[in-house]
Amino acid sequence: MHIRIYRYDPETGAQPHMQDYTIELESGDKKLLDVLMRLKNIDDSLSFRRSCREGVCGSDAMNINGRNGLACITALSTLKEPVVLRPLPGFPVIRDLVVDMTQFFAHYHEIKPYLINDDVPPERERLQTPEQRERLNGLYECILCACCSAFCPSYWWNPDKFIGPAGLLQAYRFIVDSRDTATAERLAYLDDVYRLYRCRTIMNCTEVCPKGLSPSHAIEGIRLELVRASS
């Protein structure tokens, strides 16, 4: 299999370049990450993040043949050769396929990704009806791999101010949570030309999400909640 990988090592001072690798596939090679880990054995200077190797941790997000995805759940049989691997677009590169996620997580923290409820906690738990719980489906599954935000042109243009699809999906997850009491504050924070309204409904986020979630719908949901709140 022919793989071209973006290489950059800030310690050498050299410009980033594409390096070609050719590797024989073995019977155990099913996903792209399998091959990457064998390449790492051959060339230990190659850097990438990975952890759970089953699409749960979100570490190995990268740009695979022009599309963001998780190497661990990308089947080799679906890839056209040469397989071109680049770091997540729009993110500062630390080394090879490893990007700096500082700003991405700063946006995540900005939306207060935790339940806010100052009422006295009940003895056991805050109950929800099945309908209330249903509203969290399609939102809570996000693994923060950044495939969506790194595929969003609006996020490329204003990464410092626009929260981005991942952060907004998480924001909506807490806005619709029946147990959360800070909905008004959350909405007021998002009613901003940059934080929320940089979204142009390009929908790359929904198109590329490896977990099949739809940040576009969450963003639309926030806008509608804002309309409801102001009327």
């Binding site: 609006s154 243009w157 204003n158 998002l190 009613d191 901003d192 030309v193 940059y194 934080r195 929320l196 309204y197 940089r198 142009r200 806008r223 804002l226 309309v227 102001s230």
Partner: protein
């Protein structure tokens, strides 16, 4: 006070889009229904009070829609504040001038001003 608002602009953009759609439907109806759209018929329409009001409203909606769209593009691509304000200023003056010009022309047709 926030200079660049969020929700209000978003709502106005959608409202003006709906207004433009309505005007488009009106225009299509004019073309399809009734006698052929000759210069005389256009002139009569444009110099009637309802016609003139609709034309001014059409340009107002178009300018408003264009303003929000252009503002969005400027916010995306032009990050230096002086450059941004200059470009926004130029766009605002042009769009405003278009609406004023149309309003004055229509008023002149209706002999409201000479």
């Amino acid at each position: 006070m926030r200079v660049f608002v969020g929700q209000r602009a978003w709502l106005l953009q959608r409202a003006s889009a709906l207004a433009l759609l309505l005007f488009l439907a009106l225009g299509a109806a004019l073309l399809l229904v009734g006698p052929p759209l000759t210069y005389e018929r256009w002139h009569a329409l444009a110099t009637s009070l309802p016609g003139a009001v609709i034309i001014v409203l059409l340009f107002a909606a178009l300018s408003l829609h264009g303003w929000i769209g252009a503002r969005d593009i400027v916010l995306d691509y032009i990050h230096s504040m002086p450059a941004r304000l200059s470009v926004l200023g130029i766009i605002a003056v042009i769009l405003f001038a278009i609406v004023i010009r149309v309003a004055l022309t229509m008023a002149a047709h209706l002999s409201l001003v000479t």
